[in-house]
Amino acid sequence: MVLSNYDITLVRLTYDQLELVRNWRNDPKISQYMEFRDYITPEMQIKWFNKVNNRNNYYFVIEYRGGKVGLINVRDIDYLKMEGEAGIFIYDDEWVNSTLSFQASLCMYDFCFEKLSLKRLTAHILKDNKRAIKFNKIIGFELAEDQEEVFNQLYILARHNYIKQRTEISQIFKNSNLWI
């Protein structure tokens, strides 16, 4: 499965990309922001992928200008509640502070809200990950109730908030064929 929009391509994770993603995920620059920080072995990675390679979890490798630059996902989708948990990391340092994470997220969240018809997405963000908090708030995530003192904080993105923010972000980039 391939999603392509906002000048970015998302390719659903397959077995042949597992080692690439495992190496990214084991790098301290990524794992420092994850709740699970143990070293991931190839066996653990395959076991994990066998568990998540289904319609309740969508993991995509982010591709930009021919390179593989990061991973984006929605996992643990509950089709009764119509919600799932979102996550993203950009591995390539060249693009960490760019708008690429927005492009990938817009592409992914359009899929979640318009194709999967989810009502909301959740995200857990470590309280000291200021860049991720800033990023998620621009997309429309809001801190859930009673999370101020929690270290791994729960944020919620309601569908209507996403649509509103997507409109605003699109207006900012109106008449521009380049993302800043």
Binding site: N97, T99, K134, I138, E168, I172, F173, K174, N175, S176
Partner: protein
């Protein structure tokens, strides 16, 4: 609304930059922390707090915080 409020709101978009370093004459692209993520955060803040859309294209031609403030005010009228 005055430029001092705008300076504070502008500075709030940065995590590691001393707010006192943000002045009207500051060339924002010279701020160490400046990135396209901060640029989008600033433009999003302007849309939210001042109800004005400053586009990414328009921002390209603006260099200082005061120029951005003046441009935003001109779009409000």
């Amino acid at each position: 609304m005055d430029i001092n409020d705008f300076l504070k709101n502008f500075a709030d978009q940065f995590d590691d930059t001393d707010p006192t370093l943000i002045r009207p004459e500051t060339r924002f692209r010279d701020i160490d922390e400046w990135s396209s993520l901060n640029a989008l955060a600033v433009l999003n803040m302007i849309g939210k707090k001042y109800k004005v859309i400053v586009t990414a294209d328009e921002l390209r031609n603006i260099n200082t915080v005061e120029e951005l403030y003046d441009f935003m005010i001109s779009k409000q009228k």
